[in-house]
């Protein structure tokens, strides 16, 4: 089944901003027995978050008056309308409680599932690039494969296998699993692991090659006519606002996963807009053909991530759900994909100094770390369906399942056993 991701952005009634923040804090606080439990029960939701934006602090002393807005971001299985119907049906009261702080939310008397769904659909904004770490894996599949893996692990730990060949052991595991009625579905439901589409990669490469003279000219234009005039981000982490960092940290590192929400403003002018759109096009192409193995730009810890251009392409949101700590995540970004991030974010205001679009920027480690912290937003509510699993675990579990159901040679069986 296809996974989907939507972003809903709704203006908040000015006088109700504080109420909304309090309400979200309350929901977060009682989450495990409350809202998160309801989301668990849906069984089709991977990650969700609510973020209030434009209600106070601006990351670059933005002089525009902005209207406060509420973001609702969800990653789920199946199609939009089915999902929204389900959530509005089973968690309707909480949806009402939250969105009643927003403009034009259908009043109580009419707040039936249908009107809620209509409201949310109406306020959906378009994602620019979406990355999924375990492509095609539904929540149900992820959970059953977790169960399968630990069932096999228990079996493996039940005795010593020193005297058994890899091939025999594979067979024994298989028959042990298939003798359990819980796993009968393995016989019928075949799954596969997404593969790198080399044809697509070659195609992308060719397109880039053909366009390379244009791209080079473009980069030179950006460098000589734009980059040199850029206002750059020169702060270090020690210079960031303490209270703000406290707010960010208050919701971090409770489990093995974390979230990241970031909002930046586009530099003005067509050139920047074209550049970022081209970067998103490239990112989307790479995600489709190449980054379908559980790594985004070489980073092996991201479950779902996306970029959203909004408000007439004048601003960029970035969302990510990842394993480990912020420090590790950002460090990984610099090491593995500094060029990619720089290519995208150098088109946004007050970024660490870049040269020729993809150099400098993220590679100015200290300033880049400070920049990403500074442009981060406090996520007011966050949900994860399987906080005990890393994206590596999830992908490994699917490999286990796929290999288990095959007949393997001794060599391949040995490889299968390495997955444990």
């Amino acid at each position: 089944m296809k996974q989907n991701s939507i972003t809903i952005l709704v203006p908040v009634i000015q006088e109700k901003v504080q109420d909304l923040l309090d309400c979200l804090a309350r929901i977060s606080c009682s989450s495990e027995a409350g809202f998160s439990k309801k989301l668990d029960d849906l069984g089709i939701l991977h990650f969700a978050r609510w973020v209030v934006i434009d209600h106070g602090r601006s990351w670059i002393n933005d002089d525009q008056t902005r209207k406060p807005k509420l973001l609702f971001v969800v990653d789920f299985d199946g199609n939009e309308s089915d999902f929204l119907h389900q959530i509005c049906d089973s968690a309707g009261e909480i949806i009402d409680e939250v969105f009643s702080h927003c403009e034009k939310y259908p009043s109580k008397d009419f707040s039936k599932t249908e009107s809620r769904v209509h409201f949310l659909l109406f306020n959906t904004i378009k994602d620019s690039a979406v990355y999924i770490g375990a492509l095609g894996r539904t929540v149900a599949q992820i959970k059953i494969e977790r169960k399968l893996r630990s069932y096999i692990r228990d079996f493996l730990d039940s005795r010593s296998w020193l005297d058994v060949s890899a091939q025999t052991l594979h067979r024994k595991i298989k028959s042990h699993v298939l003798s359990n009625p819980d796993f009968q579905f393995l016989k019928e439901e075949k799954v596969s692991i997404p593969r790198i589409n080399y044809l697509g990669v070659v195609f992308l490469g060719l397109v880039l090659l053909i366009l390379s003279p244009l791209i080079i000219i473009w980069i030179l234009i950006v460098h000589f006519f734009y980059e040199r005039k850029d206002e750059n981000f020169n702060l270090k982490r020690s210079q960031l606002n303490n209270d703000f960092l406290n707010d960010l940290e208050a919701s971090e590192d409770f489990k093995n996963q974390n979230q990241f929400t970031q909002l930046v403003d586009m530099k003005s002018g067509k050139v920047r807009k074209v550049t970022i759109s081209a970067m998103f096009l490239l990112t989307n192409g790479l995600i489709k053909f190449f980054f379908n193995q559980g790594k985004l730009l070489g980073i092996p810890t991201i479950h779902f991530a996306k970029w959203v251009l909004f408000e007439g392409d004048s601003r960029v949101l970035f969302f990510s759900n990842f394993d480990g700590s912020w420090q590790q995540y950002l460090g990984d970004f610099i090491d593995n994909s500094g060029w990619g991030l720089t290519g995208i974010f150098s088109n946004t205001k007050v970024f660490p100094k870049t040269n020729f679009l993809i150099t400098g920027g993220a590679y100015r480690e200290e300033h880049f770390l400070a920049w990403s912290r500074n442009s981060e937003l406090v996520t007011n509510y966050w949900y994860s369906a399987y906080p005990d699993l890393s994206i590596k675990n999830i992908n490994n579990n699917t490999k286990i399942r796929v290999q288990l159901m095959k007949s393997l040679s001794d060599r391949k069986a040995a490889k299968f056993l390495k997955l444990f």
Binding site: R237, L245, G324, Q327
Partner: protein
């Protein structure tokens, strides 16, 4: 120099303290290389300040704010406590020093003794150290200091810690320091000293003076060219954590998991399991190169990689303490070259000292007298990217490599697990890996703090503020 005392002091009279500093900086041990060993003093002294201490000494608010957030906050804050895994018995509320219930600490005096007539004689070194300390202590009041707590740190001649393992073998070499060694261990100076470029090729976030005070001529200017004076230059940040070691729990776990069929202790297998968990044999030899048995005493062998000798973890498991904390050429599934680059971004210089009875644990020696442990000391510039990263990402997170429920078996385990949570150690093996279940937490954090260890010039400067 086997004996040392780490005295945690408060500054009760800043003026007197600065007066003392203005003279005593001359007596502090420096990095200067002394060729003629007979010229090396038999006592050594160093000083490091907490953020509170710099404030007490009189550093301005603006200048205090120039330090990194981790150093400013110190080791104890709700978020930091979560990151470091300091919960249950290790929670800062029950610490002996450095916790919220304890008296604040302003500085740490590090006092070392070396009796030069003997060779590696702990008792004789102790006398020298304590005599020197007594001399210093007699003037604490006069110099505006008040003693809060001290720990006596010892080094065992073979450098073994209480679980019985040779410690501190692998250390990074600061590029440009004149020391020589394997190139994989040579790390950019900016990882350990302010004012130099780090492994990313940029200057680290150094405390630049934001508002002039004291004798500014004593300080170098910002290497990055801002024109500001750099209080950090040639100084570093020091992390100290007092870690109680439960020797009995450690070895009982090894013994229980390797018992003979008749229930008796299988010493060889127990020692082997412990070596798999640690990553080296008790005598120091890396299990990566000596997978079957301990090749003998006092091994300093340190030139090896995991990618090259042990890609699948069949010798040194992926989850072992040393493979996690310094993965060398094998970080996640990166290639060797990339891995070395990543490893170098997370190196620390360690200088641990033992406290309590000098005791060498083993399968049959499991009950030291009284509390024993290790005063963990490390030096780094970016506490978040170095020490805290190592403690959280590589030790506490159970998801290292392809692992599922395996925290660092020495320093990363939790004391109490939530329902359904497992805590294991996986041993990669043929035909398939084995898991050793219910890993106990074998250390308890008893205290800790982050310190700024200033250069001699900065120390002089601090005496003038």
């Amino acid at each position: 120099m086997l004996y040392s005392r780490f005295a945690y002091l408060q500054i009760s009279d800043a003026k007197a303290a600065k007066k003392w500093l203005s003279e005593s900086w001359k007596t502090m041990t420096t990095a200067k290389h002394i060729r003629d060993k007979s010229q090396i003093s038999n006592t050594h002294l160093n000083i490091a300040f907490t953020h509170d201490g710099l404030k007490q000494l009189g550093l301005n608010e603006e200048n205090l704010a120039a330090f990194s957030r981790e150093f400013r906050q110190g080791m104890v804050s709700p978020h930091r406590t979560r990151l470091l895994g300091d919960s249950d018995s290790s929670s800062p509320e029950s610490w002996i020093w450095g916790g919220p219930q304890n008296e604040p600490i302003h500085l740490c005096l590090m006092v070392f003794g070396n009796d030069k007539s003997g060779k590696d004689d702990l008792e004789m070194d102790k006398q020298v150290c304590l005599a020197f300390y007594a001399e210093l202590e007699s003037k604490f009041e006069e110099n505006g200091f008040k003693l809060v707590y001290y720990i006596d740190g010892q080094t065992q001649p073979q450098n073994k810690e209480h679980f019985g393992f040779r410690d501190g073998i692998s250390q990074p070499i600061i590029e440009g320091s004149g020391r020589v060694g394997p190139k994989d261990d040579v790390v950019k100076a900016g990882e350990f000293l302010f004012g130099y470029k780090n492994e990313f090729g940029v200057y680290p976030d150094t405390p630049l003076l934001a508002s002039p005070q004291g004798d500014l001529n004593l300080l170098d200017s910002d290497a990055e060219g801002s024109g500001q004076k750099d209080l950090g230059k040639d100084g570093t940040l020091m992390v100290m954590r007092q870690l109680d070691q439960d020797v009995n729990k450690f070895w009982t776990f090894m013994n229980d998991n390797t018992k003979n069929p008749d229930g008796s202790i299988n010493e060889a297998e127990s020692a082997k399991l412990a070596a798999k968990i640690m990553g080296r044999w008790q005598n120091g030899a890396p299990i990566t190169l000596f997978p079957d048995k301990d090749p003998g005493p006092n091994s300093d062998i340190n030139e090896f990689g995991y990618a090259k000798f042990d890609k699948d973890g069949l010798k040194c498991p992926f989850g072992s303490h040393l493979r996690r904390s310094n993965p060398r050429d094998s970080v996640d599934d990166h290639g060797a070259k990339e891995s070395l680059k990543l490893s170098k971004q997370h190196r620390i210089i360690r200088r641990a000292r033992l406290y309590g009875q000098i005791y060498e644990g083993s399968p049959t020696d499991t009950r030291p007298d009284g509390d024993v442990g290790l005063l963990f000391i490390c030096f780094n510039i970016d506490i978040s990217r170095q020490f805290e990263f190592l403690q959280y990402t590589w030790a506490n997170l159970p998801k290292n490599k392809e692992l599922y429920n395996d925290p660092d078996p020495i320093i990363g385990g939790k004391e109490r697990l939530s329902t359904g949570e497992q805590q294991n150690f996986t041993i990669q093996d043929l035909p398939v890996s084995r898991s050793v279940k219910n890993l106990p937490r074998v250390i308890t954090v008893k205290g800790g703090a982050y310190f700024f260890l200033p250069s001699i010039n900065s120390l002089r400067f601090l005496s003038t503020i």
